[in-house]
């Protein structure tokens, strides 16, 4: 028997990068996975890829900033699989990087909307189902930017600090109901759409600087975040509650 056999799992931002790697890892571990993304083309490709690898997969287009779409997404999971055992709220956006006073208000609003309110929306809908079941595990995607500042990323950092606040407080609300809520804080992860944006399409000088910032001397892989998410959702983490786990090659050390 596989680790997540018979479990229904939801991953947002599953069209690529960390989300897709995590959806794939859940699929390999036997789960029925619902992939969600706001990019229909990416979503379809991702879902097809997992299906052809033999995984049990559904796909739902969803903009996590839209409460109605988020509720419909969770409803679809429950309609299809009868339950929701684990959720990885991963959909997120970054910015191009500019000093705080030069960052557009619109950019701030968009980042907070997706990264913070998106997680808020998802958690609300997921928790409604999980409290009804009396069990569940949620992992929210924060960032090393949720634990420290970095130049040019005030709005991003604010959103990711917020995710940890949501995680820690709501973990306390539900710890007594067999629902565990934690966060992951990825370091600098290569081979993702977000990495492409932040490195301005793999600019070698930017990549060199990022590698130099990593004590481990390399960028992380999406699969290394997936491994942590799966562990946090597994029964092995039954006493791990309200934690924001750095998976960052030692940056925050």
């Amino acid at each position: 028997m596989k680790l997540f056999e018979g479990k229904a799992v939801l991953v947002t931002g599953a069209g690529g990068g960390i989300g897709l790697a995590t959806a794939s890892a859940f699929g390999q571990a036997g789960a029925s996975v619902t992939l969600a993304d706001n990019n229909a083309a990416l979503l379809e490709t991702a879902a097809d890829g997992l299906r052809s690898a033999g995984h049990q997969v559904s796909a739902v287009e969803c903009d996590v900033t839209d409460r109605g779409q988020v509720e419909a997404m969770v409803e679809q999971v429950v309609k299809t699989y009868g339950r929701l055992d684990a959720a990885f709220n991963n959909a997120g956006v970054n910015c191009d990087g500019a000093p705080m006073a030069e960052t557009d208000d619109d950019e701030f609003d968009n980042i907070i909307d997706v990264n913070l309110r998106g997680v808020w929306n998802c958690m609300k809908a997921e928790l409604r189902q999980m409290t009804a079941q009396g069990s569940g595990a949620i992992v929210n995607c924060s960032s090393i930017g949720g634990m420290r500042g970095s130049k040019g990323r005030a709005a991003y950092s604010a959103s990711k600090f917020g995710v940890i606040g949501l995680t820690r407080a709501s973990a306390l609300d539900y710890a007594g109901q067999d629902i565990r809520i934690n966060a992951v804080c990825p370091g600098i992860i290569g081979n993702t759409p977000m990495a492409m944006r932040v490195t301005k399409n793999n600019n070698p000088d930017i990549i060199k600087a990022f590698v130099a910032a990593e004590p481990i001397g390399r960028l992380g892989e999406p699969e290394e975040i997936a491994a942590a998410v799966l562990w946090l959702c597994s029964p092995a983490a039954s006493f791990v509650v309200g934690h924001a786990m750095a998976i960052d090659g030692g940056i925050l050390a």
Binding site: R168, A175, I216, W231, F239, V240, G249, L252, A253
Partner: protein, 255 residues
């Protein structure tokens, strides 16, 4: 169902291995195929633990060791490597608690005692483990801190100082060895159903009230839940995780 690991061909060392979290972790390593070095200061309890594992068909070496004594620690690592040829994983878990005391009344003896085992012990173990691991070019170390390494609590300054110190050791050494293929992390157990908690109950009649206060999950943890975290941190799945202090505390430090 829990994740499973294949540590066959690997060697794991656990200090404070004769009971509680140490024993549970040693058993979990062994059940995953690792050869296990059990170390403890208590010879009788150590022997019983080693016999338990041996009779389950595990590959075991037991070494009596007072981790506050560096020479004994050096000898422990030498014997481990002489016996099994290498050292892949270590859980530096040996630790003690001292009776609660007002900070203004704490004795130097108790301060030295708790720091000698909990902090100097981890320092000595890490030092000698790293000498072997850097020769190999690989390894994973997990140090046992505590919720006391992350927060303060009244009457526990000496213990919390030692456990905060463990996190400092962990983070610094983790950065140092990250590029050399050696990952170092800490775990911070919350209130776990172990002999240390039983001892606290014996020392302090109302300790259970203190223990269950602010325990979001509403129960004590089990040693197996600590073992599960240690094994994961030592596994290839945690390849990008280093220098963290992982609370396994039912939400206590999420407050």
């Amino acid at each position: 169902m829990n994740p499973t690991y294949d540590f066959s061909g690997q060697v794991a060392l656990v200090t404070g291995a004769s009971s509680g979290m140490g024993l549970a972790t040693a058993e979990a390593f062994a059940a995953s195929g690792a050869a296990v070095v059990l170390a403890d200061i208590n010879e009788k309890a150590l022997q019983a633990a080693a016999e338990k594992l041996t009779s389950a068909g595990r590959k075991v070496l037991s070494v009596v060791c007072d981790v506050s004594n560096e020479a004994q620690v050096a000898n422990m690592i030498e014997r481990a490597v002489a016996h099994f040829g290498r050292l892949d994983m270590a859980f530096n878990n040996a630790g003690i608690q001292v009776p609660p005391s007002d900070a203004a009344d704490e004795t130097a003896e108790n301060f030295d005692l708790v720091n000698g085992v909990n902090l100097r012990g981890v320092w000595a173990c890490m030092k000698h483990e790293l000498q072997q691991m850097r020769t190999q070019g690989s390894g994973a170390i997990v140090n046992c801190s505590s919720l006391g390494g992350l927060v303060g609590l009244p009457s526990r300054a000496a213990y919390h100082a030692s456990k905060h110190g463990v996190i400092g050791l962990t983070r610094s050494a983790a950065m140092e060895y990250a590029p050399r293929g050696i990952r170092i992390n800490a775990i911070c157990p919350g209130k776990i159903n172990t002999p240390m908690v039983s001892d606290m109950l014996a020392m302090q009649a109302d300790a259970m009230k203190e223990i269950m206060r602010d325990q979001p999950i509403g129960r004590l943890g089990e040693s197996g839940e600590i073992a599960a975290a240690v094994l994961w941190l030592c596994s290839p799945g945690a390849s990008f995780v280093l220098g963290i202090a992982l609370p396994v505390d039912g939400g206590f430090t999420a407050h």
